[in-house]
Chain length 490, copies 2
Amino acid sequence: MTVYDQLMAHERQTQLLASVAERLGWDQETMMPPGAADQRGDEMAALELVLHARRTDPQIGEWLAAVKPEGAEQAAQLGHVRHSYERAVKVPARLAEELARICSTAQGVWAKARAEQDVAAFLPVLKQVLALKREEAACYADSGHDLYDGLLDGFEPGETGAGLAAMFDRMRPRLVALRGAILDKPAPKGLTGHFPKDKQLALSRELAQAFGYDFNFGRLDLAVHPFMSGQGADVRITTRVDESDPFNCIYSTIHEVGHAMYEGSVSPALRMTPAGRGVSMGVHESQSRIFENQLGRSPAFADWLFGRMRDTFGEAGAAEATAFARAVNRVRTGYIRTEADEIHYNLHVMLRFDLERALIKGDLEVADLEAAWNDRYQADFGQAVDKPSNGMLQDVHWSAGLFGYFPTYTLGNVYAGCLHKALRAELPDLDAQMAAGDMKAATGWLRDKVQVHGGLFTPRGVIEQAAGHAPDEGPLLDYLEAKFGALYGL
Amino acid sequence: MTVYDQLMAHERQTQLLASVAERLGWDQETMMPPGAADQRGDEMAALELVLHARRTDPQIGEWLAAVKPEGAEQAAQLGHVRHSYERAVKVPARLAEELARICSTAQGVWAKARAEQDVAAFLPVLKQVLALKREEAACYADSGHDLYDGLLDGFEPGETGAGLAAMFDRMRPRLVALRGAILDKPAPKGLTGHFPKDKQLALSRELAQAFGYDFNFGRLDLAVHPFMSGQGADVRITTRVDESDPFNCIYSTIHEVGHAMYEGSVSPALRMTPAGRGVSMGVHESQSRIFENQLGRSPAFADWLFGRMRDTFGEAGAAEATAFARAVNRVRTGYIRTEADEIHYNLHVMLRFDLERALIKGDLEVADLEAAWNDRYQADFGQAVDKPSNGMLQDVHWSAGLFGYFPTYTLGNVYAGCLHKALRAELPDLDAQMAAGDMKAATGWLRDKVQVHGGLFTPRGVIEQAAGHAPDEGPLLDYLEAKFGALYGL
């Protein structure tokens, strides 16, 4: 066995065990009886201990020092191993353990504080999490490196906080102008009616299949917060149901199908290798977003969906197709990121990005976070936060230690904009296909241009190859202005 | 940390990882999408490799040599560790791997051969399995030890093939005489009617709870072959549904609840220790059998169930309670072990026990197995096997390498007989309670006398303590003669 083969054999076993851990996580959110939570915590911790030992095994360092890669694919594989190994060994075991422990506690404290609208109860543990995350960031921050960038690098290798900030600054004026023009127009109506759970789930299964999802390699279940879990031949999705708002279920499903198609479409030859998964959070989100928004919320697809809704529910919640498409694309000022329309969503992300960057840099204290959030929300959204669960307590991320994650959502939107523009250029009949519920050409294009490559290229690299140019925010903004301009008669 | 504490810490992590493996197994049989089977095989193999390394870690041998147990509980814990470690290290890694591989293949070959009634297709791989199992048995067979006993010891420590054979020889005449007397009487009717799946499952959930099952620590799902999976705070059961025969669903559920109550009722202080689980297959089966048969098929409980069936289905499948109790306890000659009544079941087990013992000893060749099975079935059951799936291809056990497992089913019945006699003596109102659907006193007695102890005592030891005498087959046979004598007017 060559050094490369030995290293890959080690990585394969690690990936398989990580896949087991992911499956346990799925079980926890979908199937696990509530009384098993503590035992599951112990089981997960035992498995994480095994994974941590494998990921920081000094033998990896020796293999990396000795290995001679042959060709681009081996170089890409080794790049992932090196990135992961170097990050893992920089963090002392004591710090990694403490972080895992505090973040587990913090999520429980956060959930209770959110339910009770009690910011003060959350701040002490958030302060602990932040202190440990800053310590972790310092481990990555080799000479002159920004603390925030060290954390961001865990989710989106190659990006910097400064680079994203500059892009967000360029995006903001056009988003704000578009939002203003829309809000000056009469608000479109939402759907009315009752949409039974079983029918929503049956329709969601059909939509998942229309977007290419194969139930031979996955399943659809209910979860409090929809998510996708798995890789390769076992990619499972979840959704949720609100019987007065079928879009919640439908668009959560389509979104998670985008993630699942990415993980399931990576070339089989790459499965259980370091390059065998989606390459970054941003590119992952580009797939879920383009499925959900650029395709799923397009007027052409909405037209087809209108018919399927009438077939399914005996009504579609709107009197005619145009009103339905407007309901699908309703723009409203709101408190909650996960319920936001395509325009406001990015403003929600920018708010969080600026605040978490300031926290990590040390420019903002935890004690001042609520005031900072509320001031910023007032400034950006033109209304006051009415309660903490609609403000700084709404997201789980910070309690889970996920600083550096938020900006990847908007980066995903930007990437989706680039991919959508290229897709439109190459598929001139796309609207006609979508109006017939036929998504095969669009999902096939994404599979062949992006998904199949897994981690063989950098995040920006894979988008650049697919789009034909270095990614930038222009196509997303052009798309939003064109689509909402037409829908709202701007 | 003392040597004992170090050893227990190691064992705890191993148990937690074994619990993860068991959860994956549950997922595989209930939730996993079919296309994920190969990937799951790789995931399980990766986890088994970790478990095997932990179980054969030479450090365990050093700890065992150095440890000084204090008190009976520590001695019991160390007994389990020593038993498991010594068995594990006696088998060369090469043989363990080969067995895992061949048995995995053999189960697929068996399933196909059974579906196609093709014995010849199964024999070559069964021959390979048998050769490896005999090799494995030889590893355990220290001076003068019987080959079969080495395998049996993996399921039922303390038992020998000769001891079980002698007990089965004592049981056979009374079972045969009772069966003959019953078959001379007019056959009782089975249920008639249609019993919708959803209602069967709802009733089964209610019955599970009546037998003490707490859905806060478990769940009920469908599986092709019902099973229980888990331990401690997460014990899940499965059942299956036949819309013309509700007993299939109902009694599978009650049976699996017996297993689940055992695993879930082990003292919390013992969880994730070597003594934290059911102590043997025989004692496990005693719990599932007493739940299913001595309690669940008692005329008193059947009386209550008759009423619940009428409430649930609008009919109970029988005109009145006595006919219903006879249907619950219908005795019929049949081919299939898992569908057999309480009397025939043991004759099915004895047939398999004698054949597998002869195979392992070298007294019977695989090539002659089908003829031996068919001759024996004709002699014991008075009819000819009509097709291999009703004969030697019906059970998965041998293809899975589970030689030595079958006799624990009848041993479980014998133990259940002893426990039931003691239970009746201590709970004089049991019939009145069961006729009201109140199982609390009975299940509480089993919990306190048997289940809570986990592996603190030997299998025979825990039965002896609960029953007040060394276990023997008498109480089971007395119970069968009394119950069926009354039902059939013998």
